[in-house]
Symmetry: C2
């Protein structure tokens, strides 16, 4: 049986999602708990890998399990039984990772290939001096930023484009065409801003480069027209720097 899992994590103490030898990863922690719980090797597949330090509010994954192994742990595949399974697995997981929901999926369901829409948030604040409270979850930008310029220019990302200029060099992905459905600046009353991106998928470091480029816009170094040209020219060196992962959060995955 294939099971779909919605899960959530605070990434700050993990070396990213994907399993790597010798370091703590979200996938590694989950596979260990599931394998121990079911007493059989379990491979866990997520909709996408998040980088070191990046959190997820609602990420999606799946894993396969033999019916008899599952039914040794729960009575049947009803929602109620899956709810009790979630509680028991959460009891075993570190408090930084939580399963939110488990359900039966069709055999051809795949958390990565079925992911139709992902929402990412990036928090940042502009201040001469660091604000320690914000720095827990937001990037500190020392420059003054013109918020309205960013609010306008970020719209240049919306649509279907070849995002080669916004992909880390060395990425092995061939097709760099992605669709951004939504890109917007949200002001938070506390004094920081959030850049929200909704797309059908994102290239390696794509959001962190888009945010670095928006900071250049806020500083007055680039305009909205420049963003359009940078996309067209497919030249990574014209876009802004890759900002740190500190402000990045995967909000949700639709599939």
């Amino acid at each position: 049986m294939r099971l779909k899992v919605e899960f959530s994590y605070l990434g700050e103490n993990y070396f990213g999602y994907q399993v790597q030898d010798g370091v703590r990863t979200v996938q590694g922690d989950i596979e260990k708990v599931l394998s121990d719980f079911f007493d059989t090797d379990i491979s866990f597949v997520a909709s996408g890998r998040t980088d070191t330090g990046v959190s997820a509010i609602r990420q999606v994954g799946h894993f396969d399990i033999k019916d008899d192994v599952l039914l040794a742990k729960i009575k049947n595949d009803s929602a109620k039984e899956f709810e009790s399974l979630v509680i028991r697995i959460n009891y075993l997981l570190d408090k930084d990772i939580r399963f939110l929901h488990v359900s039966k999926a069709s055999e051809d369901y795949h958390a990565r290939f079925n992911a139709k829409k992902k929402t990412y948030f990036y928090n940042l604040y502009s201040s001469k001096t660091e604000i320690p409270y914000f720095s827990q979850f937001a990037l500190w930008v020392k420059y003054n930023l013109d918020i309205n310029k960013i609010r306008d220019a970020i719209k240049a990302f919306v649509g279907t484009h070849d995002f080669t200029a916004f992909c880390a060099s060395g990425s092995e992905v061939q097709d760099k065409v992605r669709t951004i459905y939504e890109a917007e600046l949200i002001e938070n009353e506390m004094g920081y801003i959030t850049l929200k991106f909704v797309g059908n998928g994102f290239l390696y470091n794509m959001i962190r480069i888009m945010v670095g480029t928006m900071i250049e816009v806020g500083r007055g170094k680039l305009t909205k027209d420049d963003i359009t040209k940078i996309i067209e020219n497919k030249d990574r060196t014209l876009a802004g720097k890759t900002v740190s992962a500190i402000g990045l959060v995967l909000g949700s995955v639709e599939n």
Copy 2:
């Protein structure tokens, strides 16, 4: 000379603002750094004491210093010299505390008595299962909450009232009349909510009790009219529980 200080801190590793023997406090850290830096005992006064774990985005304080002691460290009392002073003091402070601004104040200025308006934020989220990313800075509420009921009922706090029902028992303050200028619910795109309170002052645990009471409203256990009656009756036992400090942040102080 009396100096006014705007400062900021992440409260999670401190036993609150106020100096206490044997534990780490914000005031204790600041007084130690200032006393070492100026090589004389310095007492630091803030606009208000925040509880254990509570952060401040922009808090205000003052301290007195002899002119010759100050002028041994900076050339004159120009803004530029105070800016360099801020940088040097921040270098000595733990990264969880930052001075944002220092300026000369009149001799009768007092950070606490002159505080005219304070803004507090309280973050919380409703979810069956904990969301580890939110739990860094927001209270986890397991119940379903009707956001619109809270949005409406929170307005009952606005105005000048005797807030005895919303003050921790044992408080020594006699005059429990306070004015709330603004009380509102703000929805965050990421999925949590923030309750914002602006007032001329707040009693001990007042915000945490108001938030606990708003949770009862969101659950459908209390109505907006009940809030008005609870205020009138001045009975602490009718209001909600005092919620944890996890979601509380001092936003700013006007004086």
